[in-house]
């Protein structure tokens, strides 16, 4: 296992795409964790003498309608976006892995029911479903984490199912079973670790997607609620002041773009590294 992992990391290190992505991802973590120490102003520091100031030396990225420092709010927003992304992906991965494993391992009626369920879930335009649930349960950071999680597990479920279908016929599974291993042991100890590679890729790309959805929801006023800074709700202010303050629209969007791009590059990079067939292309 160690050598396989060592080999993987060596190949990953040679993949330019993955490395750029990794640098962005790590940098974002540093920003999110250190925001409260390095940001020049508190994120909700209202200064009525500094309303809608364009970028200058005191406020690098300008100030908003309440005179708050845009740069400081951007730094604090990083933590919000990343936590939504990670928790949502954690939830969706867990659901997807469990249902996918059951579907692929047991087959038969279990498989048919779960796969029909996946079909049904895929019929809903995901943004519609998310918004409908938010309309009923109310917007809050916890709700959007949960809602994004429970509406985005279908891809992982199908991936895990496919992996299980091929792995369950392999000799080492038969060996484990003949030694008396139960279903749960075979699923979690023997098959699952061998099918984690595509899940890792899907989860990385999933963070990118979740960050996009969160920013969209917050932009519409149905995600992270002000005064908590999120890149999405900062853009709402950008839209409201679009004719007089371009900096309110440009910088938060750039932060989202860089984050999403980072995770997409890392995910695709890992995929290339894991799949030798794709690597030749």
């Amino acid at each position: 296992m160690a050598t396989v992992f060592g080999d993987f990391s060596r190949r990953l290190a040679k993949n330019k795409m993955a490395m750029v992505g990794l640098v962005v991802v790590v940098a974002l973590f540093v920003v999110a964790l250190s925001a409260r120490y390095v940001s020049p102003y508190p994120p909700d520091d209202i200064d009525t003498s500094q309303i809608l100031m364009p970028p200058d030396l005191a406020h690098w990225l300008g100030t908003d309608v309440l005179g708050r420092d845009v740069f400081s709010r951007l730094l604090h927003g990083a933590g919000v976006s990343l936590s939504v992304g990670f928790v949502a992906v954690g939830i969706s991965t867990m659901i997807g892995v469990v249902l996918g494993a059951m579907s692929g391992y047991y087959g038969g009626a279990v498989d048919r029911i779960i796969m029909r369920f996946v079909d049904v879930m895929l019929c809903f335009p995901s943004f519609f479903l998310i918004l409908a649930v938010i309309a009923f349960v109310g917007p809050s950071i916890w709700n959007i984490m949960a809602v994004i999680g429970v509406t985005s597990w279908m891809g992982v479920c199908r991936l895990v199912r496919a992996e299980f279908l091929s792995i369950r016929e392999r000799d080492f599974v038969l060996a484990a079973r003949s030694q008396g291993a139960g279903d749960l042991r075979i699923i979690f100890i023997h098959i699952l670790p061998n099918s984690m590679a595509p899940v890792l890729v899907a989860a990385t790309l999933g963070v990118a997607a979740a960050v996009l959805v969160e920013s969209g929801l917050s932009f519409l006023g149905l995600g992270v609620q002000p005064p908590d800074p999120s890149w999405g709700n900062m853009l709402t202010e950008g839209k409201d002041n679009i004719e007089i303050a371009w900096w309110l629209s440009v910088f938060p969007g750039m932060a989202i773009l860089i984050t999403v791009l980072g995770y997409n590059l890392l995910g695709e990079g890992i995929r290339d590294t894991l799949d030798p067939r794709l690597r030749q292309r």
Partner: protein, 325 residues
């Protein structure tokens, strides 16, 4: 073929039922019920009135009775009346908005295909070239850019700085006084930005998909055969390879329907386009439950229809599908 269509139609039934079950579950997730929305704000409400209201809307019955009643109404396309001040039947409100959303989506789909297919083919044929590398960069930007941010940037640039294009609505204030040609031109000007924004992300995804299809196909034996018998490269690529690389695109078109319909929420809201997405957003903001449920169910049903059309299209284009099933 008739049998195949029948089979596909029958398979739709369980999925349709599933759609209604999930929608109903979503509706039941609300803390309290729709009545509490009205009663909480009204000081004149007493226990008795509330109980009568609940009985009137059938909310005192067990959930499965409520579900079947709701399902029966749904089958007759009766989604109830909107909670909004106009109090109109939900189905009317949805029907008048579907054409706008559908036409914007169809235009952007056409645009996506017209641009993405040549890009994908070119970058696959010239794999590793400067063109291929720059499309890869474009693809990554395209799938990572938040569409509403792109919309804001374009509004700042073309609407506010250059003043070339209007940034809101689908027609100008003086629309009624324009000539026919003027009307068309006016609508077109209003639609340029929304269509561009709605096509952008799909464009990136589709080019990438087309590229990998094409790379897959040009490795196949029949392409080698075509080359070996001395056909020129153009014929090999466009007659032998492209046709086969296009097949899976039909499925992807079907799969992209929910994204297009759902994505409408954001750009229709930003550009103030009176489509389904904007209606949905407004009803979510107003807690207009009947409209929310109506749009949710119809959106899912439209997706199902899109998938069905894609499946049928695929089986028309590729006889192997019909035989194997």
């Amino acid at each position: 073929m008739g049998l195949y269509i029948l089979k596909r139609l029958l398979l739709m039934i369980p999925v349709l039922i599933g759609i209604t079950v999930i929608s109903f579950t979503v509706m039941k997730m609300a803390p309290g019920d729709p009545i509490s929305l009205v009663t909480d704000l009204n000081p004149n409400m007493n226990e008795e009135t509330i109980a009568r209201l609940r009985a009137h809307y059938g909310l005192d019955e067990p959930w499965y009775v409520q579900y079947f009643k709701w399902l029966r109404n749904m089958l007759m396309l009766d989604f109830g009346r909107s909670f909004a001040s106009d109090n109109r039947p939900v189905i009317d409100k949805i029907l008048e908005r579907i054409p706008i959303t559908l036409s914007i989506n169809l235009i952007s789909l056409a645009l996506i295909l017209a641009i993405a297919i040549p890009i994908g083919v070119m970058s696959a044929v010239k794999q590793g070239s400067v063109f291929d590398k720059s499309t890869t960069v474009f693809v990554f930007l395209g799938v990572s850019i938040p569409s509403f941010w792109l919309a804001l940037l374009l509004m700042i640039l073309f609407g506010i700085q250059l003043e070339w294009l209007p940034i809101s609505g689908i027609r100008s204030l003086d629309y009624a006084e324009l000539s026919t040609a003027g009307k068309i031109l006016d609508m077109a000007k209003h639609l340029i930005l929304p269509v561009f924004v709605s096509a952008f992300a799909g464009l990136a995804g589709m080019s990438r998909y087309m590229r990998s299809n094409m790379l897959e196909v040009i490795r196949q034996d029949y392409v080698t055969t075509a080359r070996a018998k001395g056909l020129d490269e153009r014929t090999v690529i466009f007659r032998h390879a492209l046709r086969n690389a296009l097949l899976p695109v039909i499925t992807i078109l079907g799969l992209s329907v929910p994204g297009l319909i759902g994505g409408g929420v954001i750009f229709e809201t930003i550009f103030a386009i009176p489509g389904m997405g904007q209606l949905f957003y407004q009803s979510v903001m107003m807690r207009d439950y009947p409209t929310i449920m109506g749009v949710l169910v119809i959106g899912a049903a439209l997706t199902l229809l899109g998938n069905l059309l894609a499946d049928l299209g695929y089986s028309l284009a590729d006889p192997r599908i019909r035989v194997s099933e």
